[in-house]
Amino acid sequence: MPNLLNLLKRPLTQSLIKNKMSKVSYVTAAISLLVHKPLYIILTGVLAVSLFVLYFVLNNFSVFASIAAISLDPYLLWKVFVNQVDMVWEIAGPISVLVVALVSLLAGLNISLVILRTKKTKVFVGRTNIFGFFGIFGGAFGAACSACNTALIGLLGVSGGLAVFPLRGLEFSLLALVLLVFSLYYISKSMFEMGMTK
């Protein structure tokens, strides 16, 4: 009888020990694993920058499409991109740009961790990526547009673009941020459970 009690208690005790390890430490352990691998730091950076550019281009698609139809000069397209970011910074406020940058960084981090975990364990755990998927997707709607009424949100049938939202589209970025933080936690937790982090 005492043996049976011990057996019943054991998973409970293990669970309590696991709970003692704070949620933050799962994430910090996963990130510290990643920062010791230069290739993955570069990957995270490249992904973050690419997503930042992609978010702005997607949300200002008609702006870029119209100039691309006239000229495909890379310098001109770069000038247009810088101009869009500068305008959003000035008109919508620095926070609009900074939040998109943070979403891009978190998205890059999420993808890098998934790649690292899959490469090390040879197992792709899809269910832990669901928040990340929605976060990365949602981030695309948050980048402020640089012309009135042209934002990507128009695809959802919202006339007025981001201007009809009380926070001018910042809602999307904040939602994406929350989802990406959840995703980061679940990915880090799964890495701990797979024995990749301590």
Partner: protein
């Protein structure tokens, strides 16, 4: 041992199913909250604009314009800046309460004016696209037309410039009672402008511009159409969307000027 194994497996299954259900519920909850937010904002926005829905009804609800090369566009009977016989025409669809139109006015238009309009290469035609969520924009467009009635294209562009100098461009960036004040300040008659505005004389004209913009695929502001001028006032215009840097306009205008 068997009990331990079965307990562990059972525990594992319950844990997995618990995590899955929690995850799915959180995602669904966030998605539902978000959709409710969108719906709420949309309803609020529609309620705010219910009294101003005549122009809104003519505006497209979809924002992504078709961009399939040049389109036949018309200068209509709108205000012209520059030489009427300039070889290139640039139409701007403007919203006086759009901050990006203000940015274009502040930073890019002076350069275009200096290098292309003042040199007789390009004429700028100003047409209206007051977006329905910018409450005062429609009246401001009408006021500019009323100013034109008093002093022609010169008065129109002076009035246009003055609106952009004074508005903060946020939908209600310029109080409507300031429209007559601007007229007085420019040496026009404020009372005549006010009665012109009150009569709604140019409402149909602005609504026609809105309808034309929609037909041309211009749904955002500022939007531009650039092409070779023609005596009929209609031409094949290439669209340029947004307050792009001067270099974009230079590329578009030079391309048209270099066409044979």
């Amino acid at each position: 041992m068997a009990t331990k194994k079965s307990l562990t497996i059972q525990d594992l299954f319950s844990k997995i199913s618990k995590v899955n259900i929690t995850q799915i519920l959180v995602v669904l909850l966030i998605a539902a909250a978000f959709l409710l937010g969108v719906l709420f904002t949309r309803v609020q926005y529609l309620e705010e604009n219910v009294s101003n829905n005549s122009a809104a009804a003519q505006q497209p609800s979809q924002q992504v314009p078709e961009q399939t090369g040049p389109k036949e566009v018309s200068v209509d009977d709108d205000a012209i800046l520059g030489d009427k016989n300039a070889p290139i025409t640039m139409i701007e669809f403007v919203d006086y309460e759009c901050p990006f139109c203000k940015r274009f006015f502040d930073e890019t238009l002076p350069q275009i004016k200096k290098e292309y309009i003042d040199t007789g290469k390009v004429k700028l035609v100003m047409r209206d696209l007051p977006l329905d969520f910018h409450q005062n924009a429609h009246k401001e467009s009408q006021a500019a037309e009323c100013a034109r009635e008093q002093g022609g294209n010169t008065a129109y562009f002076k009035y246009h410039d003055e609106i952009f100098k004074r508005t903060t461009s946020n939908g209600t960036g310029l109080a409507l009672d300031q429209l007559a004040v601007i007229a007085n300040d420019l040496g026009l008659s404020g009372s005549i402008l006010q009665s012109c505005l009150d009569s709604g004389k140019y409402k149909a004209e602005v609504d026609k511009d809105l309808a034309d913009a929609s037909a041309y695929g211009a749904t955002g502001t500022p939007s531009f159409f650039i092409g070779k001028s023609s005596s009929s006032g209609k031409f094949q215009g290439t669209i340029l969307v947004g307050a792009q840097p001067f270099e974009s306009f230079k590329a578009a205008l030079d391309a048209e000027l270099n066409k044979k």
